[in-house]
Each structure stands twice: as structure tokens, then as C-alpha cells.
């Protein structure tokens, strides 16, 4: 496949790996402990596992899988709100496919649909708007989810609905922004990270400037990375290069997609309809200031939270889950007490087991041989372990 296969070339990978090994040799720190690099975005986590990249790298490099999977960090209470909206008899609830299986405290959207709710999978918010046009006597709610990557398309859909004067369309807005969360992770006292692979798709919208504080204030190098396996290897190489040369900078490996200034039109559309919430709850990480996005007062008529009564309950994560520690890189997914036993992709307890981009699900589905043995052993030992 043109423009894709070039970025998966195993011969080029070998050359890069040799250079990465040579750089690791020169980093003194690597002799004391493994170097920890966080890939912020779930898309990177997925690629790293899909192509089996981690075992190819020197043992002195560890990936820490960051919070950049919007499905994974959605708190259980918000899923309950989704289900409550979907169960409203007037409502057609529209959502991206990934969100269907996320467990709420009562049920997932998939179960709600089986129980009779009108839940429909869409590929874009514009599809949801189309459904609203076709069903003028029903209320169509779109489950808006994701970082800056998906925000512009939601914003443009709201603007389109406004232009057409469509009254039966609204958003259940769960958009989040990644920067405050990276900051919260950097402020964590347990932090041992040495560098970041920056999110590629988010940066396509926001550009590279918002990451400057990571290099300047926290003295950590960050490389905005693409999603193909060679992109990831090259970005690791760029991070190691910075570390050997004692630099801490924001670099852009994904220049073929990410303009340093971001996408002005997209940002304008987002700015017109959205504003920051004071705080927003993240599954596994708790409440983070200014990390959530909602519709501005002038677009309140498109806000499902204001249009319908949403229970808005806070539901605590199961105690046995250690998602927060995994997200911060304090423990590895398989070191969590319930990983592979009570918590599996079929019956996820924790957020990170839910989406294929979640770190735990990635380890479970795509892990190495040793991990497969561990998973099997745990599953046999404690299938019914504590759903506390």
C-alpha cells in the first residue's frame, strides 16, 4: 500500500534499532535503571503492540503507556449518564463504536441497546446530524468523545445544526484536553519519566507550541510522533539523541501531518462553540482542573446535559483496580492485582482494559509469550476474584 508500507519497512527498522542501541550505550542513566518514555496517545500504544515494537528495543528502554485513550479515561458515572440518556424514550443515542462496550456501573451502551434503548453506531457526528434530520420527532443525542482530534468535527457539526436551525440535535459532551493531564502527571511525586512521545493527531490541530512547558519547566524532552512503526522508532531515536546531548526540546517527527502552528480553521471552530470546564473527572486519575470541555452558554440548546436531566453521579472505580498507577508508569499493567484474572477485555473492571488502545488490553491481546502464560495462570487461579 503506497504511503503506508514505506513506514513499516523491517530493513529500515534494523538500521534504526542499531543506532538506538548505540545511543543507549552512551546514556549513563541507562546503567542504573531502564529509561522510561511515555507515549501519551492510545494510538501509539496500539501501534507499539500491534507491530511488536517493545521487544525489539534494548531492555534499557521501557514504554509507559499514557492517558491518551479517551474511551479508557471516561469515568464510570459518565457512562451511566450515557445509558440514562439512551434509555429516554424520545432519544436516539448516537455514538462511535468503541464507546459501546465501556462498562457503566449498571450496564454498557451495548447492553442498553439489547434492553431496548435506541443506540446507533455512527462514524462521524455528521451522521448523527443526518439521523436528526430524518427523525424530526425524536431527540438525537451524539456522544461527543475524544481529545482535540475529534473536537473540530463535533464543533463543525454544531455550527451546521445551527445554520440549518435543527432543534432535535444535541451533544453529550465528553471532550477532554490532554495538556492539563500531562501537567498533572508531571506534577506527580512518583514520577520517573525521562521523555515523551507527543500525540500526533492532537498536535495536527493544536500544533507543537502547547508542549513548550514540558521542555522548559519540567526539563523533559518531547517528540511529536506519527503512528506507523518507523515513526515510533524514529521518535525514540530523536528522544535518545536529545538525552545524550543534554537537550530538552519540543521536536516534531510527524512533520508530514503536523504543522508547528496547528490548524487555525479547526481551532477557530472549536473556540466558537466550546469552553473549558473548571474541572473534569478522569477514570484512574481523578479530577483534573481545566481538562474537560463543554458547550458555551450561547450553544446551550445543543447541550444534552442542559436539555435533559442527567443524573451526573460520581461512581468510584473498583478498589482492586490500579489503573491510576499504571497510567503514571508506577506499575506495569501485569503487576496490577486483577490483570488477566478478574479484569480481562471480555469483563473489564478497569478503564485500561476497555478499549484496544488501553494499555492493559494491549498487553492482554498483544503481549509476549511470558505474559500469555501469566494470563492463563491467573485466569485459572481466580476467575471470580473480588469485584469490589
Amino acid at each position: 500500500m503506497k504511503y503506508v508500507d514505506e513506514f513499516r519497512d523491517p530493513v529500515k527498522a534494523k538500521v534504526l534499532l542499531k543506532e538506538i542501541e548505540a545511543l543507549v550505550e552512551r546514556i549513563a542513566l541507562c546503567r542504573q535503571r531502564p529509561l522510561q518514555l511515555m507515549e501519551v496517545c492510545g494510538g501509539h500504544t496500539h501501534s507499539i503492540f500491534k507491530y511488536g515494537i517493545e521487544p525489539m528495543l534494548p531492555k534499557a528502554i521501557e514504554f509507559v503507556h499514557g492517558p491518551g485513550c479517551p474511551v479508557c479515561v471516561l469515568p464510570m458515572g459518565r457512562v451511566d449518564d450515557c445509558v440514562a440518556l439512551a434509555e429516554h424514550p424520545q432519544v436516539i443515542f448516537t455514538t462511535f463504536g468503541d464507546a459501546m462496550r465501556v462498562p457503566g456501573s449498571r450496564k454498557s451502551l451495548l447492553q442498553a441497546r439489547a434492553d431496548g434503548a435506541d443506540v446507533r453506531m455512527v462514524y462521524s457526528p455528521m451522521d448523527a446530524l443526518k439521523i436528526a434530520r430524518a427523525n424530526p420527532h425524536r431527540e438525537v443525542v451524539f456522544f461527543a468523545l475524544g481529545f482535540e482530534t475529534t473536537m473540530p468535527s463535533t464543533a463543525l457539526t454544531v455550527l451546521q445544526a445551527e445554520r440549518e436551525g435543527i432543534k432535535n440535535f444535541s451533544l453529550f459532551c465528553n471532550h477532554i484536553t490532554i495538556i492539563p493531564t500531562i501537567k498533572a502527571i508531571l506534577d506527580s511525586p512518583e514520577l520517573t519519566l525521562d521523555g515523551f512521545l507527543g500525540p500526533g493527531h492532537v498536535s495536527m490541530v493544536i500544533g507543537t507550541a502547547p508542549y513548550e512547558f514540558i521542555a522548559r519547566h519540567y526539563r523533559k524532552p518531547i517528540v511529536v510522533a506519527g503512528f506507523e512503526p518507523l515513526d515510533i522508532l524514529q521518535s525514540v531515536w530523536m528522544l535518545l539523541k536529545q538525552l545524550t546531548e543534554g537537550r530538552c526540546e519540543v521536536e516534531n517527527q510527524y512533520q508530514r501531518v503536523v504543522p508547528d502552528a496547528g490548524n487555525d480553521q479547526a481551532l477557530t471552530a472549536v473556540g466558537r462553540v466550546f469552553e473549558l470546564r473548571e474541572f473534569f473527572e478522569w477514570r484512574g486519575l481523578g479530577s483534573i482542573d481545566h481538562s474537560g470541555i463543554r458547550l458555551k452558554q450561547s450553544y446551550a440548546r445543543f447541550d444534552a446535559e442542559r436539555k435533559f436531566s442527567v443524573p451526573n453521579l460520581k461512581i468510584a472505580d473498583p478498589k482492586s483496580c490500579q489503573c491510576g498507577e499504571v497510567l503514571k508508569g508506577v506499575i506495569k499493567p501485569w503487576e496490577c492485582k486483577v490483570f488477566g484474572g478478574a479484569c480481562t477485555p471480555e469483563t473489564p473492571l478497569g478503564a485500561l482494559m476497555v478499549s484496544s488502545e488501553g494499555a492493559c488490553a494491549a498487553y492482554y491481546n498483544y503481549g509476549g509469550v511470558d505474559l500469555a502464560r501469566l494470563i492463563r495462570a491467573r485466569a485459572e487461579k481466580a476467575p471470580a476474584e473480588a469485584r469490589t
Binding site: M1, V4, R8, P10, A13, K14, C41, G42, G43, H46, F49, K50, Y51, G52, I53, E54, P55, M56, P70, V71, F96, G97, D98, A99, M100, R101, L110, M121, Y123, D127, L145, G146, F147, T149, T150, H201, P229, P345, E346, S355, S356, E357, Y364, N365, Y366, G367, G368, V369, L371, A372, R373, R376
Partner: protein, 362 residues
């Protein structure tokens, strides 16, 4: 239940059958009522298409000659499957061809020679008769091509909304020759894994045929019967260890079933698995994995290493196996695990699919 095929008294059927002519353009509830409308439908649409010596008497059941069966082997293979595909017609096939070939393939992967099929249809009130004719015609074509007879059946009509257009259920009977012993549990270390061509075609064809994606590409389903290919394989190597058609869940699921049933490890190479370019493209865009995509004319075989080249050559000489390829091997450890060497040179586990294979959002 086959009563519905023959609402008439025995004896009168063969005289009055020829008169049955369906003049309506849409299916109504009366076509399932057991009366004249139903008889016309059965005569005109089904008997007209499927016509064969076992079906013709229109008894409540098909009567099969045991001596004929016994002469062909020592075990009966018996299977059933339902077909609810949407859309009914898609590039490379339709629900009718699928219902015939799918059941033939379920028989054939046991090494059986497929002989007889049943055909039950559930029709939604309002279905166009023309659509039903096309489907019945397609079933007849597929059965004729495979030298299999559709010998009994049933028709039901449900009110609008109680079913989606048309569902088909087919059961099949075949005979397994004496020396043949194919089973998932027979995979042994050193065996070789072969697939008979590009994977994921059917799943991708259905995705593209659903209008809502508007991908602007046409991919043909690989829907076809495999018993001819399988016979050629068995002639090349009577001791084929495992054989399964990779339908829902795709090749990855079949490999996991083999690895678990035989307590072995199957290791395969992503670069050696044939995937056609448009399917790669669709999977890339939607974040799907062709290894889990449905096929309707693809099988996975595990054969002894010594016979691998002979089997591969026989497969490539058959129209249903032109793009056959050796994709991997069986090793002893770790038991029950499928390992993939990725295109990039890394290695990872390939597990069973959990839930539906849904597109990712970012």
C-alpha cells in the same frame, strides 16, 4: 415441519404442482398461510428452481437411499447454519449463494462429500417476489455447480418488522470416506499451516456494500464452495490433520481453535498471509485487522510437513486455491497460543476476538 412444502394431499401434488404460478409482486402473510398462495409460491419459486428427483414427490420429508450413502463412506456428516446477511446482494455473491456454499463448506472441511441440503426461509411481509426469485435462482445455481441437491424445505412469512427482509436456514448432509480423519485436535509440532488465498475479502465486501461508509471501493466477496479444492487436497495427502473454513472471526480465530484443541503453539508470519490491496486499504482506514475479518471461501489447513509442498501444489492447481500460501508452522510450546511475526519484524500474540471488531475513533 416440511408439511408447508406440500399443503396438498399426497398423490395430488404431482398433478397440480405444475399449475402453481405466482402472480403477486410482493410477499404477503397469505404466502405463509398454507393455502393456495403458498403452494403457488413454493411451486413457482422453489420447486421451479431447485427441481430434482428427491424433492419432486413433495413429501413432508426427503427420502434418501441408504445404500448410496454407505457406498461412499462410513460416517455421516450433518450440519446446519442460518444466514441473515445485510445487504442481501453484495459484490461477489448474495444471501442465497452464501446459504448454499456456507453449509457445503461446513460439511466439506470434515473431508465429507456434500450431498443434500435443506432450505428454510423466513420472509418478511412486503419482500419483493423478484428479490426472492433472484435468491432462489442463486441458491439453485450454487447447488448445481457443487453437484448438491436441495431436497426439502420450509417457508414462513412474518409480519413487516418481525424479520429483516429474508433469512435462510440450510442444513446439510454429506458422507465422510473411511480413511479420512480431520480434527482440530490433530495439529502436531512440525506441521505446516496453509491458507487457500487472500483473507478478509467477504468481511470487507459487506462493509463496503453498506452504504453508510461511502468508501467508494468495490471489493468482491470470496463466497464459493470449497469441497472440490478439499477433495484435491485429500488426494494429494489423505492424512490432512486439521481443516476449517475461516468464516466469522477469521483466520486468527481458526488458528486459536487449533492451538487450543491440540495444545500446541501456532507461529505464523504476517508477511506471508495473502491480503489483497483494497482489503488492506479498508482495514487501514477503519482500524480493522484482516486476520479477524470474515471469509466465505477460505480455509485453514494443517498438514504434515512432508506433504506440505504436494498439498500446496494441488491447491494452487485448483481454481479455489490459486493464491494458496504456507503461512506458518506448528511448534510444541507455549501450548494453546498463536504467535505472529509482524510485518515490522516484532513478535506478538494473536488472541481470540473479544466482542465485535469495531473501528477505533482516534
Amino acid at each position: 415441519m416440511s408439511r408447508l412444502l406440500n399443503p396438498d394431499r399426497p398423490g395430488q401434488a404431482s398433478i397440480r404442482r405444475r399449475n402453481g404460478k405466482l402472480r403477486d409482486s410482493r410477499i404477503t402473510l397469505s404466502h405463509g398461510s398454507g393455502g393456495k398462495a403458498m403452494r403457488d409460491l413454493i411451486d413457482d419459486v422453489f420447486v421451479g428452481s431447485f427441481g430434482n428427483a428427491v424433492l419432486e414427490p413433495l413429501e413432508d420429508q426427503a427420502r434418501l437411499n441408504l445404500t448410496n450413502l454407505v457406498a461412499q463412506g462410513d460416517r455421516l456428516a450433518f450440519t446446519t447454519d442460518s444466514y441473515v446477511v445485510d445487504p442481501l446482494f453484495f459484490p461477489g455473491g448474495d444471501i442465497g449463494a452464501l446459504a448454499v456454499n456456507g453449509t457445503i463448506n461446513d460439511l466439506a472441511v470434515s473431508g465429507a462429500r456434500p450431498l443434500y441440503l435443506s432450505c428454510s426461509v423466513i420472509l418478511e411481509e412486503g419482500l419483493s417476489v423478484e428479490t426472492l426469485r433472484r435468491v432462489a435462482h442463486s441458491m439453485a445455481e450454487a447447488a448445481r455447480a457443487a453437484n448438491v441437491a436441495i431436497v426439502t424445505g420450509d417457508t414462513k412469512v412474518v409480519p413487516r418488522g418481525a424479520a429483516d427482509k429474508l433469512f435462510i436456514s440450510t442444513a446439510g448432509i454429506g458422507v465422510i470416506p473411511k480413511e479420512t480423519n480431520i480434527a482440530a485436535g490433530r495439529a502436531r509440532a512440525r506441521d505446516v499451516v496453509i491458507v487457500n488465498g487472500t483473507i478478509g475479502d467477504h468481511g470487507a465486501a459487506i462493509l463496503c456494500a453498506r452504504q453508510d461508509l461511502a468508501l467508494g471501493t468495490t471489493i468482491e466477496s470470496d463466497c464459493r464452495s470449497l469441497h472440490g479444492l478439499i477433495r484435491a487436497m485429500l488426494e494429494a495427502c489423505p492424512d490432512i490433520h486439521c481443516l476449517r473454513d475461516a468464516t466469522r472471526g477469521g483466520v486468527a480465530t481458526v488458528l486459536n481453535e487449533f492451538a487450543q484443541a491440540a495444545s500446541v503453539c501456532i507461529r505464523f508470519d504476517e508477511t506471508s498471509v495473502p491480503v489483497c490491496e483494497p482489503v488492506k486499504g479498508v482495514c487501514e482506514i477503519l482500524g480493522l485487522d484482516p486476520l479477524y475479518m470474515a471469509n466465505e471461501g477460505k480455509l485453514v489447513a494443517v498438514v504434515p510437513r512432508e506433504s506440505a509442498d504436494t498439498v500446496l501444489a494441488a491447491m494452487r492447481a485448483h481454481p479455489a486455491g490459486r493464491d494458496s500460501a504456507i503461512v506458518g508452522e506448528v511448534i510444541a510450546e507455549p501450548q494453546g497460543v498463536v504467535l505472529l511475526r509482524t510485518v515490522f519484524g516484532g513478535e506478538r500474540i494473536v488472541d481470540m476476538l473479544v466482542g465485535e471488531q469495531l473501528p477505533r475513533i482516534c
